[in-house]
Amino acid sequence: MQSLLKFGTLLAQSRWARILPVLLALCAWQLLALQLQSKTLPPPSAVLSILWQELYGGDLLFHLGMTLVRVAISFGAAMLLGVALGILMGHSNTWDRLLDAFLILALNIPALVTIILCYIWFGLSEAAAVIAVTVNKIPMVAISLREGARAVDKKLLQVAQVYRLSRRDTFFKVYLPQLTPYLFGSARNGLSIIWKIVLVVELLGRSNGVGFQIGSFFHFFDITGILAYTLAFSLVIFGVEALLLRPLETHLNRWRA
């Protein structure tokens, strides 16, 4: 028993700690699927082989690319505008009071409503799709950054004022670093929400992208295809997290060590 516990701790510390639970879940899924032999639950091996086929023979890369471009543009726009709005509202009570009702409203309008309205007003275009996604995400970023801006340490801003730092230095070296945790919070949230909304946008009014593909798979009840596309996108998100977000965060937080 004790040696088992010891093995457990060793395991938790090693790099297998992240991978092993996933492998175990995959094995369980495979066994269950083989047992049930149901059309609605394909085994992971089938999903992987479809993913492989789509990757090499099919259009997966094209559709994935289209979706990623939409995600990137709306993510960038939503973060930029949301951060600006959040800082404005966290910084100034007047603006906070003026815009608060709109923010609450925007936060609670269903994504579907914004998407449909955008398509009706701006036509079934690329711009309409991106605007719909961006508008959905801005209030979430703003809410979180507003909290961050309210928590900014006035004492450090006094330092900047006394020593007459330039506006640029004050913003980038004194103000913005205090918002880092809020920025990363919204970036992670943002990525996950935005790709979900992008898929709906694509399903409703675009003729390419992962959302469009999942729509067509749905018509043919092709569950394996749906799962293969989901898996492809999940792998991309893991990549972004491991290669971009986590290293950047570690770098920016090295002073906390």
Binding site: K155, L156, Q158, V159, V162, Y163, D169, K173, P177, R254
Partner: protein, 262 residues
Amino acid sequence: MTVLSVAIRKKIYANDCCAIENLTFTAQPGEFVAIVGPSGAGKTTLLNLIAGLDTEMEGSISFHTGQERRAHPRTSFMFQEPRLLPWLTVQQNLELVLTPQQRAHPTTPVPDLLAQVGLTGCAALFPGQLSGGMQRRVALLRAFIIEPTLLLMDEPFQSLDAPTADQLRVLLQGLWQRTHPTVLFVTHSLREAISLADRILFLSGQPSRVILDLPVDLAHPRSIEDLSVQKLHESLMGQHPQLLAGQLTPSQERSTHARSTA
């Protein structure tokens, strides 16, 4: 050389409480002025007003050269806490307050300056990796690195152990004698004030004004343990037992300008 003239008629806090009333003094160029008063006497408020961090008051704070009025001079402020930026290294913290020209062509490289205050090899460390005393050294260096005309210090060595505070006072006197900025040094320790200042202003309780303006004619540099410092402290406390509570003895109130006898 710039003379600082402070004439505050009234400063009222947000809660309608009158902090300062009819507080007037001038500080000569290069003069080290200590400001001593009971806690809550508006000492920090006074420094914030002089630094321009707070602008709401009746009265005037002005800077002159001869008859000519000057713009706000180059000012440093050492706060009660070190207030370094925790995400910047020691070197980046110091370079942050320099002008772009100074940053590009420093008169003395930052690592050399750090060595002068006993922080050799600390340039690449973050403030969180330093002890409290070391953080104050960096804050002190930051205050002097811009070669200020006016240096405001708000109980900067508070909450340090006695030996560390002593070392920092020695360091402060050394740096001050090199560039001679005008210093306003707020403290609640009379011994500390006597050991550093050319002149001590005693403030009353709220609303605060100057109740005693005392020149200290002792040679620099001094230490808090010096006999002359101790003697002046004793004689002052004998003359005005209530001085640190913000009162001259009732009968003697307003008979100002008692001269030092030490």
